[in-house]
């Protein structure tokens, strides 16, 4: 009997690894080994040409005095702090508008979702540059409507450049909207019915039923959107190029420049690790705060 059991155990183990083996290999080669080497390089001077030289905490200490690093962190934070909540609020509002289906719903849904599909592409980056440039779409529309002669470049001025990127992020609210829509559909109608009988107003129903029931979706979106925001690269690189005055120099772009433009690979790795640390701390805080505000229905299997 025991012999048979252990044979079955071996068989399951081998079959299991036969199926997930590819993942294990990929994880080791493209994730774990790179993570560990990146950690090691972050303690080194490394310019690719000569071998890495271990320098202890030198890179991390240098970060404290690196003004550009702080500027890039500030820009990244500003981007996240504005784009993530705006996007979530907006996508929740639109999801509620589309909750009641009618003949037009699928058209609206498609129109609002399409930007999420193409928003990360280089093509849209090019369009965005032309939309917000001095002689671009926005100014010519304003001038045509109000008869003004505006030629301010929204991308070129320090107070507006980052907002063009925030707008681009909010423009891609479509996939969060779909998340919220499927969350809304899972709320039992009976809850609303009994609330109406008790005479609850629409505002009450929203804050007492809809919002609490959606907190798992909000929680999940908050985490994913924040990580995506903190690591935003392409848009900043292509649309504003980190300019003007480094107001849109996001951490990801700065890390890229340090590593591949100035070939300070070790220093770049140290910056990347600080970014990772920020993400870990933020995610841990969110998970910790979960039981304060995230409402999980005990009998549903799928949380968010």
């Amino acid at each position: 009997m025991k012999h048979k059991l252990s044979r079955k155990w071996w068989k399951n183990t081998l079959t299991g690894y036969a199926f997930i083996g590819l993942f294990c290999v990929g994880f080791i080669c493209f994730t774990i080994i790179p993570i560990l080497s990146s950690l090691y390089y972050s303690f080194c001077d490394y310019d690719v040409l000569s071998p890495a030289k271990f320098k202890g905490l030198k890179n991390y200490i240098a970060l404290f005095g690196d003004e550009q690093f702080w500027v890039s962190l500030k820009a990244t934070m500003m981007y996240v702090v504005f784009s993530v909540p705006l996007k979530l609020i907006f996508s929740l509002m639109i999801a509620m508008l589309l909750y009641q289906t009618n003949r037009m719903t699928s058209f609206y849904r498609a129109a609002y979702y399409l930007p999420s599909i193409v928003g990360g592409s280089v093509a849209i980056a090019i369009v965005w540059r032309q939309m917000f440039s001095g002689d671009g779409l926005l100014n010519s529309i304003i001038n045509a409507v109000f008869g003004t002669h505006l030629d301010k470049s929204w991308i070129g001025s320090t107070d507006t450049a980052i907002w063009t990127l925030i707008i681009l992020s909010v423009w891609q609210f479509g996939s969060s909207m779909l998340n919220f829509l499927s969350g809304l559909k899972q709320i039992p109608v009976s809850l609303y019915e009994s609330a109406s009988i008790d005479g609850a107003t629409a505002v009450h129903r929203f804050f007492r039923i809809t919002l609490p029931m959606l907190t798992p979706t909000i929680f999940f979106n908050l985490i994913m959107q924040t990580i995506m925001g903190l690591t935003c690269f392409t848009q900043s690189l292509l649309i504003t190029r980190g300019e003007p005055m480094n107001t849109t120099l996001f951490s990801a772009v700065y890390i890229y420049r340090t590593s591949f433009k100035f070939y300070k690979m070790g220093y770049g790795c140290a910056q990347a690790w600080v970014l990772l640390l920020i993400i870990v701390v933020f995610t841990a805080l969110l998970f910790k705060s979960q039981d304060k505000w995230v409402f999980y229905e005990t009998d549903t299997r799928k949380g968010g």
């Binding site: 690894y17 399409l114 592409s121 499927s182 890390i255």
Partner: protein
């Protein structure tokens, strides 16, 4: 009284649709502006930016843009993108299905550990592994080839593994067991029973993967270095650099062509994409 309420309801409905339509136009306007600008005469693109439709339609931008740069036409860039996106997609979809079956149906030591590892890959910023990956590919002689853009995807992608697992869990286990009693191995169960039943998930994965790989810029930017190997994203970036070109018409024309495949897939397979996001809750 009743009549008044019915009227109010109808007005409410009209307001609702007008609001939704205005928002739809605003959402689509940047795309429409790009498409129509590509048919304007190139020197009027910015001068006539405020009007959507061209005053004079022309295809010249497409002819000029297609010529590309460094004697390489956009035909090459499209071909490169197509090769990369197809192979990476095939790898990601197939391997993710295999891996998902392992996680969802087989109990073996370490499966929870590896599942946790998979969740890590969802959250890990690429910047952390960027430098070591570059060094690895350099050592392997992969830099400048399509391999870094394709091979990693043959090891599964968390989003698709997750999606497939949701589908597999919806399939009754009795089916597997019946097949096993009939002498089917785990591989037989996967190939003959599970795979045909998760086709919708595979279609969703294929569409998402192709669109993402088609639009991917960062990997191409880091790992490709010869113009004849550039994918469409990278080529478009260089084509639109202010130092390289001020031909706005051609720029818009090639930008339009570059997102055409994604838009076509979106229009025909919208249902699958929407369902994919709804089932996994991922890709927020």
């Amino acid at each position: 009284m009743n009549l008044g309420m019915a009227k109010q309801k109808r007005i409410g409905k009209i307001v609702y649709h007008i609001g939704c339509l205005i928002l739809a136009v605003m959402m689509l306007y940047p795309l429409l502006w790009m498409i129509f600008s590509s048919f304007k005469e190139t020197d009027t693109v910015l001068r006539e930016a405020s009007r959507l439709l061209p005053s004079k339609w022309t295809l010249e931008n497409y002819v000029n843009g297609w010529k590309g740069f460094s004697k390489i036409t956009f035909g090459t860039f499209f071909k490169n993108s197509f090769i990369v996106a197809s192979l990476a997609t095939f790898g990601a979809v197939f391997s993710s299905a295999v891996i998902a079956f392992g996680f969802a149906r087989i109990r073996f030591p370490g499966s929870n550990f590896w599942f946790a590892c998979m969740m890590i890959t969802l959250m890990l910023p690429f910047q952390v592994v960027m430098v070591p990956q570059f060094l690895l590919y350099t050592r392997l002689g992969w830099v400048g080839t399509f391999l870094p853009l394709i091979v990693p995807y043959f090891c599964g992608q968390a989003f698709f593994i997750f999606l497939d697992m949701q589908f597999i869990r919806g399939i009754p286990k009795d089916l597997d067991e019946a097949a096993e009693i009939d002498g089917c191995s785990a591989f037989g169960v996967f190939g003959r029973i599970i795979l045909p039943l998760i086709v919708p998930a595979l279609v969703t994965s294929t569409i998402f993967s192709f669109i993402w790989r088609w639009e991917d810029f960062m990997a191409a930017f880091l790992f490709l270095n010869k113009p004849e190997n550039y994918t469409i994203s990278l080529a478009l970036k260089l084509f639109s650099d202010p130092s390289a070109s001020s031909d706005y018409g051609a720029m818009f024309a090639m930008a339009t062509l570059s997102i055409l495949p994604a838009c076509v897939l979106f229009i025909f397979f919208q249902k699958y994409l929407v369902e994919g996001i709804a089932t996994t809750g991922l890709k927020g």
